[in-house]
């Protein structure tokens, strides 16, 4: 190491620059070590300990990366192989539970379609290259590139991976970081920020007496499915709170509703205002809680007007209004179909206004905890960054683009012309485990370790009162010699740029162990030696972060939601719905999840289009008919599935399929509805209006049988699932 290292710079490198009192105690940590003290050898970190007995499984704590929610997990390791993942009971996010996507983490790890060696583009094809060649080429290119013309495109990142990316950009002196997630809360977060002064308030589903979910599939395709499902279980236990789900297409969460109400997609904001109007008119809520302009706006949205716009009958709106009046506290949620509109911000603000009127703010919507570790917090993605990135690429703003944890060439609507404009970028670097669509178009492929082989830290966006930094550790030795950890790759690039700061860390392991020790004052570890601090973190799979209570500053303003719109040429609204399982398409390469039936339609291994039987009858469409769904930006052809859990003006096509690459299980299967979306965006946040594309539908003349679980949709009176009223339950098991 040359020169004296500035302490502040050192802490910043480790992501604790904001935590002023952080200790600098990491220097006595062995750099490349086994966990055994004193032995400094260059060897795999995953050393079988003496106490590992053949035939006996051992559990190690880690953090799940199958989605961005950051669940703490335990991995079962036997004879050096990871076999099974479970939830870590101590994790405030997972609470010992795990979803099906998490379960399938082992399948991603053991996938036969992993990218196992680095590759460089040679004309039309990617050809294998050595890491030496890759490192040298990349260093040359980066040195010759104007730093402002470097971009990172990632999925939601947090913890030290985020720190490294930001530090990379800072070290190079420019560049941009785009964060893209199809399943996101971006508009909700913007509304929370503007109306509550806190972009990430804690939602207490468990404390509500009734949850009114406007299209929020909070237990399925959400940013915290397991955490929310655990809260939902608490809602149902005890006093048994109710769930009212209002949406255009029945989601997995909607399947558990006490009352499921179809609504014309994109009109949920009008319903929220209509409900507010009903409550204000009846004097059930205090109008002074919202601004005068907003109150005036609410006055315009009479129940009759809301009914006309939404297609939800006035009686039904009043019934829901009465429930909200009588059962407090409540919680009103806005899902992807509310946020994904050109007026998504406005509609979501209308929902938040309803929460404010109902007095839910402070009761079921609590201020999020504040920590000093801003650098480690999740940089949550959305679709706005996808649109902004596509725009920048079109305007030839970048020469080097890194892709990590996202697949924009699959998720970007064709109308953004991302594929065409990306082709003009001289160097596209994919850090990836799989040959997905974006990797296929890349010029340089850096094969990553699987999350079960790699180090990392993750900060959950949603969790309990106590924020934690989840620690991800390798559960087994790497399967492929030529794969590298994400942290190691970025650290390597940083070391070249700033050897004085990063030369200290031979690898990401050393970096992380130093970082966790440097965070000691923030984590409040009772351990005194660096080794003990680090080992405690590994054993627990997480470190607690000291947090302060946040505070709301409530501010309301006028919201403008449109009236009813009709489009004669394109009469149906397309709902591209993500679902628990294949999610946004990232899990289409995992056979367990392909063979796992959709929770509502029960279809496997395929795509389909859900339409209401009355709509189908209008077009003479029968169950299984192959239909062409056309927007002004393209068309897809798939099989019609008649489903009563639909609004007649909507057509829903699940996300996940339609991959052209991405391995043997995903490729050439079904269709991708994202492709035909109109390139519209929310006026305020720039997030793509993903539920605002109008389509028309026509028969192709073919009919396919749909492969699905179960023969009968009803129980034929056999009483498999019996139903009891909540009233009876309160009598027999009442708390």
């Amino acid at each position: 190491m040359s020169g004296k290292l500035n302490r502040r710079e050192f802490l910043k490198a480790l992501g604790v620059g904001g935590a002023a009192s952080a200790t600098l105690a990491g220097c006595d940590l062995p750099s490349t070590v086994t966990l055994e003290e004193g032995k400094e050898v260059v060897e795999s970190y995953f050393m079988p300990e003496e106490y590992v007995i053949p035939g006996v499984g051992v559990w190690y704590a880690s953090t799940c990366t199958q989605c961005s929610s950051g669940c703490g997990i335990h991995g079962r390791v036997r004879e050096g192989r990871v076999l099974k993942l479970e939830g870590n009971p101590d994790s405030p996010v997972s609470g010992g539970r795990i979803c099906q996507m998490g379960q399938a983490g082992v399948q991603a790890h053991y996938s036969p379609d992993r990218v196992t060696a680095p590759a460089l583009r040679d004309g039309a094809t990617l050809t294998a290259a050595t890491w030496d060649k890759i490192d040298a080429t990349l260093a040359d290119k980066l040195a010759a590139t104007d730093p402002a013309r470097i971009a990172w495109v990632t999925g939601t990142v947090s913890g030290h991976q985020r720190v490294l990316i930001e530090n990379f950009l800072q070290a190079h002196g420019g560049g941009q970081h785009f964060v893209h997630e199809v399943v996101n809360d971006s508009v909700w977060a913007a509304v929370c920020n503007d109306m509550l002064g806190d972009a990430a308030p804690r939602l207490r589903i468990d404390k509500a007496d009734v949850v009114l979910s406007l299209g929020a599939d909070f237990m399925g395709a959400s940013t915290a499915p397991v955490f929310n499902a655990r809260q939902y279980a608490d809602l149902r236990r005890g006093k048994r709170g109710a769930l009212i789900q209002v949406e255009g297409k029945m989601s997995m969460t909607g399947g558990s509703a006490d009352l499921w109400v179809p609504i014309r997609p994109g009109t949920e904001g009008a319903l929220a205002l209509g409900l507010a109007n009903y409550l204000l008119r009846k004097g059930d809520v205090d109008g002074a809680l919202v601004s005068a302009e907003l109150r005036k706006r609410i006055d315009e949205f009479t129940v009759e007007r809301a009914a006309e716009i939404t297609g939800v009958s006035g009686d039904r709106i009043q019934r829901i209004g009465k429930v909200l009046r009588d059962r407090r506290p409540s919680l009103v949620l806005a899902g992807a179909s509310v946020q994904g509109q050109e007026h998504g911000y406005q509609a979501t603000a209308a929902v938040m206004a309803l929460n404010i009127l109902l007095g839910n703010v402070g009761k079921t919507i609590e201020p999020g905890a504040t920590t000093s570790l801003h650098e480690l917090q999740a940089k949550a993605g959305g679709t706005g960054d996808l649109a902004r990135f596509a725009d920048a690429v079109k305007n030839k703003k970048f020469d080097v683009v890194f892709f990590y944890g996202t697949n924009p060439l699959f998720t970007a609507p064709q109308a953004l012309a991302l594929k065409e404009s990306l082709a003009q970028v001289p160097l596209k670097v994919a850090l990836t485990m799989f040959q997905d669509e974006t990797t296929e178009a890349a010029d340089m492929v850096l094969p990553l370790l699987s999350p079960l082989e790699d180090w990392g830290t993750h900060m959950a966006q949603h969790g309990g009162e106590q924020p934690v930094l989840g620690v991800q550790q390798p559960l087994m030795e790497k399967l492929y010699a030529d794969t590298r950890g994400f942290g190691d790759i970025v650290l390597n690039l940083l070391r070249r740029k700033k050897p004085d700061v990063y030369g200290k860390f031979p690898d990401y392991y050393a970096y992380l162990s130093n970082a966790l020790v440097a965070m000691k004052d923030v984590t409040g570890s009772a351990q005194t030696t660096p080794k003990a601090i680090w080992e405690e973190a590994l054993q627990n799979g997480q470190v607690k972060i000291k947090a302060g209570a946040g505070k709301f500053v409530v501010k309301t303003f006028d919201v403008q939601v449109p009236g009813r719109k009709t489009d004669g040429d394109f009469p149906l609204t397309l709902m591209p719905t993500a679902r628990m399982g294949l999610f946004d398409g990232r899990h289409a390469n995992l056979p367990w999840l392909q063979e796992s039936p959709d929770q509502i339609a029960k279809v496997v291994w395929d795509s389909w289009a859900e339409i209401h039987p009355t709509t189908a009858a209008k077009y003479g469409i029968k169950h299984g008919d192959v239909v062409r769904i056309e927007s002004s930006n393209g068309a897809i052809v798939t099989t019609a599935y008649l489903l009563r859990g639909m609004h007649p003006d909507a057509i829903a096509v699940p996300l996940g399929q339609g991959h052209t690459g991405y391995g043997r299980y995903a490729a050439n299967r079904g269709v991708n509805p994202l492709q035909i979306l109109d390139p519209r965006a929310d006026g305020k946040t720039g997030e793509l209006a993903m539920f605002a594309t109008q389509v028309k539908i026509s028969k192709t003349g073919e009919n396919h049988s749909i492969v699905r679980l179960g023969g009968s949709d009803v129980q034929m009176g056999r009483g498999f699932v019996r139903t009891v009223s909540a009233e009876t339950l309160r009598r027999t098991e009442g708390a």
Partner: protein
């Protein structure tokens, strides 16, 4: 064996564990599944694939009903939504009905007596076991299962379901089944065995909660509770008692008939070891 002898033995056989049963039981593994908490998310069924080396069969074989999901989550619509009915409501206003369906480990199982080679039999713990290397694939058991919870290996799935290195994920605690063999949910018997062995080595009883099945462990809402029905302190025994549901009967006689515990197809006198608790809907909304 005289007729009297048979009848005596039979009625003894029919007696549940509560009334002494027909032999001394060490454990009686059972489940309680709260359908009001089940959200139909499939975490349980995927956990089962991971734990029990279940083969993925692909779309074509799935279409033929050859999927190997030991635990499947059924989704039903309310009767009134029957699409063939002329008075069907337009929308499923009470949501869907989800049903996690695995082998019910019947204590008078209809699958057991029909096996020509006694490959399926009842263990002393009350499990309905399948001896793979005894099975000749007659499929009589599957034919006789009222729940359709038995799955036949029509192919040697190991040839296609676990391409290298996916085979490294296979759980070494249980076998990979070959063509011609019937298989089914075992209540994760490998975990039961491990827990029993451990308890025996430590000279103690198996504790409630020291292990559970893969499905129960994964369940995000803790809808599935697994345990020993004979341990009165176990969660599962308490739930059965709270719901006034007993083993060994074909009809429950509850003090409070409003209680929501029930067993599917109990009236067939098959004595399932899985108690479901009714789905709840708030009709006042």
């Amino acid at each position: 064996m005289s007729l009297q002898n048979i009848l005596e033995n039979w009625s003894k056989y029919r007696r549940g564990a509560e009334e002494g049963g027909h032999h001394k039981y060490e454990h009686r593994w059972g489940m309680a599944i709260n359908l009001d908490l089940c959200i139909g998310c499939n975490a349980c069924s995927t956990a089962c694939y991971a734990e029990n080396n279940l083969a993925v069969v692909g779309k074509e074989r799935f279409a033929k009903g050859q999927a190997m999901h030991w635990l499947r989550v059924e989704r039903y619509w309310d009767e009134s939504i029957n699409t063939t009915s002329s008075v069907a409501p337009e929308y499923p206003e009470e949501g869907a009905s989800f049903l996690p369906m695995m082998c019910q480990q019947c204590n008078s199982a209809t699958c057991e007596p029909v096996c020509p080679v006694a490959a399926t039999y009842h263990t002393p713990d009350g499990l309905n076991a399948q001896v793979y290397n005894r099975c000749i694939g007659s499929r009589y058991c599957s034919n006789n299962c009222p729940f359709r919870n038995r799955y036949f290996n029509f192919y040697s799935y190991y040839e296609s379901a676990w391409p290298e290195p996916m085979n490294q994920q296979l759980n070494p605690d249980l076998s990979v089944r070959d063509k011609g063999v019937m298989e089914k949910c075992t209540f994760c018997v490998q975990r039961i065995r491990a827990a029993k062995d451990k308890a025996k080595m430590e000279d103690r009883k198996v504790q409630d909660g020291e292990f559970t099945t893969a499905c129960a462990q994964a369940c995000p809402t803790s809808a599935i509770v697994f345990g020993d029905r004979l341990d009165p302190e176990s969660k599962v025994a308490k739930l059965w008692a709270q719901q006034e549901v007993k083993l060994g009967v074909y009809k429950q006689h509850k003090q409070n008939p409003e209680k929501r515990g029930y067993r599917i197809f109990e009236e067939l006198n098959i004595d399932p070891s899985v108690m479901y608790m009714e789905r709840v809907r708030d009709s006042s909304i």
